[in-house]
């Protein structure tokens, strides 16, 4: 007992000494990053995400055609032409379209390249909004408890009482179809998840000694909440948020597929797939490639999320 108390004092002194030399104490995040980079699964995720980010950034350079321009009337062009790659034996007389043409004779490859921008935006914006709102509500509920907690969590229960996609469809029906409203709907539907996780962490952390110490020093409750409790409760939120990007992209594509998400001629992958689904048997490439693109983006975030979970799990600390 005495030993451990003395040990703690020694530790604190050591920490204080070290902090004179370091700008910041070695952060949880930095060691987590180190552990993250040792996991193959996370590296694979990062590589996939990196690839898509590059595609999104350099879309105008990568795309071979204008994604929204129909090429009908030009020589050798018919609607829904299958992929034609000269290097793979496609006749040189035909113009090269590596993923073929869609129903409006637009270059499928260029549309998918530009669609990357939309999908990444969907993932990042919905999760950012949902995490910010969810974390704030969850932190308030967990920290203050009482009626605030009750009110927030009961509303969360009701929202979680619906299958997410159905509620999103209903919200889009209220707001009107379109990409922005679809994003808003997905964000609203996912807020309770983040609120719950944040609340659970805050409930644990607010009982710890260092929070009591801050309170004894006279810090206001908002200050304690945001500078002491919330930063320490972020870990599970980061994992959930990364996986959330993956499911947000999937859900937005689903809404697009049902015709309530992004509207044509937007090159959103779900919408593109939905436009051509009836031509599945005659032009499978128009269904295959957009779906493959969705899967590969989502896979990247899922892998990274898994890797993050392992890296941030204190039980796996090495």
């Amino acid at each position: 007992m005495i030993n451990s108390a003395r040990q703690r004092v020694l530790d604190l002194e050591k920490l204080a000494e070290e902090s004179q030399f370091l700008e910041k104490p070695t952060s949880v995040w930095r060691s987590a990053l180190r552990r993250l980079l040792r996991r193959k699964i996370a590296i694979a995720g990062l590589i996939i995400i990196g690839f898509w980010v590059l595609v999104a950034l350099f879309a105008p350079l990568i795309a071979t055609h204008d994604p929204n321009r129909g090429l009908l009337g030009q020589p050798g062009i018919t609607r829904r032409d299958p992929p034609c790659i000269h290097a793979f034996g496609c006749s040189v007389e035909k113009p090269q379209h590596i993923l073929g043409l869609d129903g409006n004779a637009r270059d499928e490859f260029s549309r998918i390249v530009y669609g990357t921008r939309i999908s990444l935006t969907i993932g990042l914006t919905t999760v950012t909004v949902a995490v910010l709102v969810g974390a704030l509500l969850g932190a308030m509920a967990g920290y203050w408890g009482g009626w605030i907690d009750n009110a927030i969590m009961r509303v969360a229960d009701v929202v979680l009482g619906f299958p997410a996609l159905l509620l999103a469809i209903a919200i889009v029906a209220v707001l009107g179809p379109g990409l922005r409203n679809a994003l808003l709907a997905i964000a609203i539907v996912t807020i309770p998840q983040y609120a719950r996780v944040m609340r659970a962490s805050v409930l644990q952390i607010k009982e710890l000694d260092f929070v009591a110490a801050s309170r004894a020093l006279g810090a206001s409750s908002w200050r304690i909440l945001f500078s002491r409790v919330v930063p320490n409760a972020l870990t599970p939120l980061v994992v959930l948020g990364t996986l959330g990007i993956a499911s947000a992209i999937l859900e937005a594509a689903g809404l697009g597929f049902l015709g309530v998400g992004a509207q044509p001629p937007s090159p959103e992958w779900g919408t593109m797939l939905s436009e051509e689904r009836n031509q599945l048997f005659s032009a499978p490439h128009l269904v295959f490639f957009p779906g493959l693109a969705i899967m590969l983006v989502v896979l990247g975030f899922n892998l990274l999320g898994d890797g993050l979970r392992d890296a941030l799990d204190p039980r796996l600390n090495d």
Binding site: L166, A173, V174, G270, R277, G291
Partner: protein
């Protein structure tokens, strides 16, 4: 256990009420009114007036809510504005399809996912483990509708003339419909009796119906139609269940009591089957139950891909035609089903893990 049960049951009541209220308000705030959606853009004000009066839409909102709640308590979900048919009748026709699909998908997810997870855990850090988890990661990343369309392309077109060919749409081949089991049994069901809807509801579970009444060829057809949608719908929960089973089993295998069993000479197989698996399956129950609820959302997409007349598709169509009673009735029933599944999961969890009850 009893007090836990009662507490948990009471707790679902406000959630259900909240859901009803949210649905009601959400439906009223959908832009565009049912009159123009039904009668067309050029409906005269007088025609709209009559239409609203006929459908109870000219009452103040709180009164409409009161009527809706009052009817709901008596299981009366109103009448579809678009089809002029009772909403409950539509549910009786469409609900079994969706339940059958979700249940088949859940079964596939469980029967394949759990063994896959066990396999990966027992061969931890080997190629088998890595490969299984890679497949699981790809599985959770696949859009349901894309997988459905790809399966349809593969089995209905590429494998068309092989024994593996499977139909890409519908519940049964054209022109076939199963005879309700009570008619096969020679029982007359009085259509006016209170039990008639129950009989009808049950007989709309085609597979169940054909199974108990021995209509084998129709049963085969129904199963063949169900395979592709169920596979598509099962993939995500299957992958999630495999991952959870693996990580949970790994955790349990690392615990002291399993090591004790091992040091006493239990074989690896015995160690897993007798000691670890039971405890490792706890989280699988929770996650599995949650996935069951999520299946309902995925069912909307699957039904759309495979042209199945289920609940999800009807709901989406109702939203677009502003058919208030259908949207309300369907959503409330689906959400209630979802809440009840979660309740069942909580209860089974409490049954399996005594620590939960003590809270």
């Amino acid at each position: 256990m009893v007090s836990f049960l009662v507490r948990r049951l009471l707790y679902t009541i406000p959630v259900l009420l909240g859901i009803v209220l949210v649905v009601f308000l959400l439906v009223r705030s959908i832009p565009g009114d049912p009159c123009t959606a039904m009668l067309g853009e050029r409906a005269t004000p007088a025609a709209c007036e009559a239409f609203n009066a006929a459908n109870g839409l000219n009452e103040p909102i709180p009164v409409q809510l009161g009527i809706f709640l009052g009817n709901l308590v008596q299981f009366d979900l109103g009448e579809s504005i678009r089809f002029s048919r009772p909403v409950s009748q539509m549910l009786i026709e469409r609900m079994p399809m969706t339940i059958e699909l979700s249940f088949a998908a859940f079964l596939i997810a469980l029967l394949v996912g759990v063994p896959l997870g066990i396999l990966a855990a027992m061969r931890h850090n080997t190629k088998t483990d890595v490969a299984t988890m890679a497949v699981a990661n790809v599985g959770v990343s696949m859009p349901v509708f894309w997988l459905g369309l790809m399966l349809a392309y593969l089995f209905a077109l590429l494998l068309k003339d092989t024994p593996f060919s499977l139909p890409p749409s519908g519940r049964l081949a054209a022109g076939i419909s199963p005879i309700p089991f009570y008619e096969v049994w020679g029982r007359n069901v009085d259509p006016a009796s209170a039990w008639a809807p129950v009989y009808e509801f049950l007989s709309n579970f085609y597979i169940f119906n054909c199974l108990i009444s021995g209509q084998w060829s129709i049963l085969l057809d129904a199963v063949r139609h169900l395979i592709l949608p169920a596979l598509a719908l099962a993939t995500i929960p299957l992958s999630i269940i495999a991952r959870i089973t693996r990580s949970s089993l790994l955790e349990v295998l690392g615990s002291d009591y399993v090591r004790t069993a091992r040091s006493k000479g239990a074989s690896e197989r015995r160690e897993v089957s007798r000691h670890a698996l039971r405890n490792a399956l706890l989280p699988v129950v929770t996650i599995g139950g949650l996935q069951m609820g999520g299946l309902l959302g995925g069912a909307v997409l699957t039904e759309s891909v495979f042209s199945l007349a289920g609940v999800g598709r009807a709901l989406v169509e109702a939203i677009f035609s502003r058919d208030y009673p259908v949207i309300q009735g369907f959503t409330v029933v689906i959400a209630a089903g979802y809440v009840l599944v979660n309740l069942a999961v909580d209860l089974s969890y409490a049954y399996l893990d005594p620590r939960i009850r003590l809270e």
